[in-house]
């Protein structure tokens, strides 16, 4: 396994330890980390919307757990990023506007029904798995440590979404239709995950070139979808641009909700 090497450091890594460690991210690394942090944060925010509304109690717990893990990853990346400008994770999360967010567009897509959420989660977790596995090898110690901690959690997220893909794909005729519809709804946003990321420029050995992750992702996702008796959608790719601050109409309302209280009390601590 490629992600075992940093395990000792990684177990200690949290947003708090990063914030107090005094390690300062070089600006280019910080900008890259913001993209990774925003992906995880926006997904966590979406998953948080499910809590108390899931199809069964066990799923309230499971989706809550995944959201919490994602939020943890976001906090680590954003804490590290914020060190470059003497800011905090909250400055970045609550006081940037929509066009300053660098998340890929997949993560801001609405939850839809449970099948659509599972479809988004399947794509997201397989993408994170490939990404963090590679990022464990980063020469930036902090990024490598965050990835090494995150990968253990993401392995579990992959399991969760693959199991639901099977249950819904092979459950009833209705669930099969919903699951296929869910995949169709999110598929336009898959290509962007593996498109060239301007934030990785000049960060060789530190950042992961997303184009190198596609082969592994395609292999695993195709296998899972076929096993669930479903079809890999063939829909045109969306135009993307999340890493450059271009977003779908769904991000604005999400941020308005997330930031409303913090912005009503600038300078306050909580």
């Amino acid at each position: 396994m490629s992600h075992t090497s940093n395990r000792t450091i990684s177990d200690a890594v949290t947003a708090e330890t990063i914030a107090t460690s005094g390690s300062i991210a070089p600006e280019a690394v910080a900008r890259y980390a913001i993209g990774l942090g925003d992906d995880a944060l926006i997904l966590a925010q979406r998953l948080g919307e499910w809590i108390a509304h899931a199809p069964e109690l066990e799923e309230d717990v499971a989706l809550g757990n995944i959201a919490l893990d994602q939020l943890g990853h976001a906090r680590s990346f954003l804490s590290y990023a914020s060190s470059a400008w003497e800011k905090t994770e909250d400055d970045l999360a609550y006081f940037r506007d929509e066009s300053e967010f660098r998340n890929r567009q997949l993560f801001e897509q609405p939850n839809g029904d449970f099948a659509q959420t599972i479809a988004r989660q399947l794509v997201a977790s397989l993408y994170f798995q490939a990404l963090y596995n590679a990022l464990c090898q980063s020469t930036d110690q902090t990024l490598a440590a965050i990835a090494a901690k995150a990968i253990k959690e993401v392995d579990y997220h992959v399991d969760h979404s693959v199991q639901w893909l099977m249950r819904l794909g092979l459950g009833t005729e209705f669930s099969r239709e919903r699951m296929q519809h869910g995949l169709n709804s999110v598929w336009a946003f898959v290509a962007e995950l593996f498109s060239n990321d301007p934030l990785t420029a000049n960060l060789e050995g530190i950042a992961v070139d997303p184009q190198t992750l596609q082969e592994e992702f395609d292999r695993l996702v195709k296998k899972a979808i076929a096993e669930a008796g479903l079809t890999v959608p063939t829909v045109p790719a969306a135009r993307g641009g999340g890493r450059a601050g271009i977003h779908t109409e769904f991000l604005g309302p999400l941020l308005a909700e997330m930031q409303v209280l913090a912005r009503a009390h600038p300078g306050a601590t909580w």
Partner: protein, 325 residues
Amino acid sequence: MSGTKTAITDESSLDEAGAARFAELLANDQRVEPTDWMPEGYRKTLIRQISQHAHSEIIGMQPEGNWITRAPSLKRKAILMAKVQDEAGHGLYLYSAAQTLGIDRETMFEQLITGAAKYSSIFNYPTPTWADMGSIGWLVDGAAICNQVPLCRASYGPYGRAMVRICKEESFHQRQGFEILLHLMRGTEAQRAMAQESVNRWYAPALMMFGPPDDDSPNSRQSMDWNIKRFSNDELRQRFVDMLVPQAEILGVTLPDPHIKWNEERGHFDFGELDWAEFHEVLAGNGPANTIRVARRRQAHEDGAWVREAARAYADARMTEKIAS
């Protein structure tokens, strides 16, 4: 399930032996387990109490879930998410404990979403401000702990054991609620006002969580005889007020009751009368959020029906495959 009955056993003598054993367990303050004989009234009381408790955990996810997407810092968001998730977990243990008494989860859920079952009235109050996350932790979870710590010794084994774990998590919840309020009280003027306004709203409803006064609580005596309940409603309420007053001082909030005063003779704080008319109104379904809470739960249950059906169909098909192979 109640004791196994076979054709050759005289039912009444079996019941007699069971009843004697049950009385002996209670007299020795030992646990009654699912396979032990128990009176129908004991079983029914426990099913009612445990399922109501489970429902309260599940409905209780809503007023706090209301702030997950708007929590004002990422750390607070993480803590709140973990807390609401704990509540779902508590609901799960408690439904399982109730199931050992011979009722299934689907029936209990049905009772909840049709409005036939009760849950703690406190969750029928809304959470309009962030400070309510502090008040719920400090006051509501604080009252719950006073109620629940003695339940760790409840005579019914599965319930008592579930409560041990739940109480550990609840005491963490109470501390984090206190900490939210402490941060607000040490913050800006607007934050302090938010905290005080919230405490004003939650104080009396939290005191009513212990139930009506002892002379108006018909079921309490029997529950105490069965070692389910250990202290009376008024005793627990007093204990709670005695705990709150010094904590309020540390926070710097004023408890909204001008009658709170140390009583040297009693060795307790005196406090004012509560508005029991309001309590009965909310209990009867006329609280600020009763309809919304139940409707939300029903909606989630109904929206998820096809998902649960798919999961069952998938599990059944796998089982058939396994048997066939």
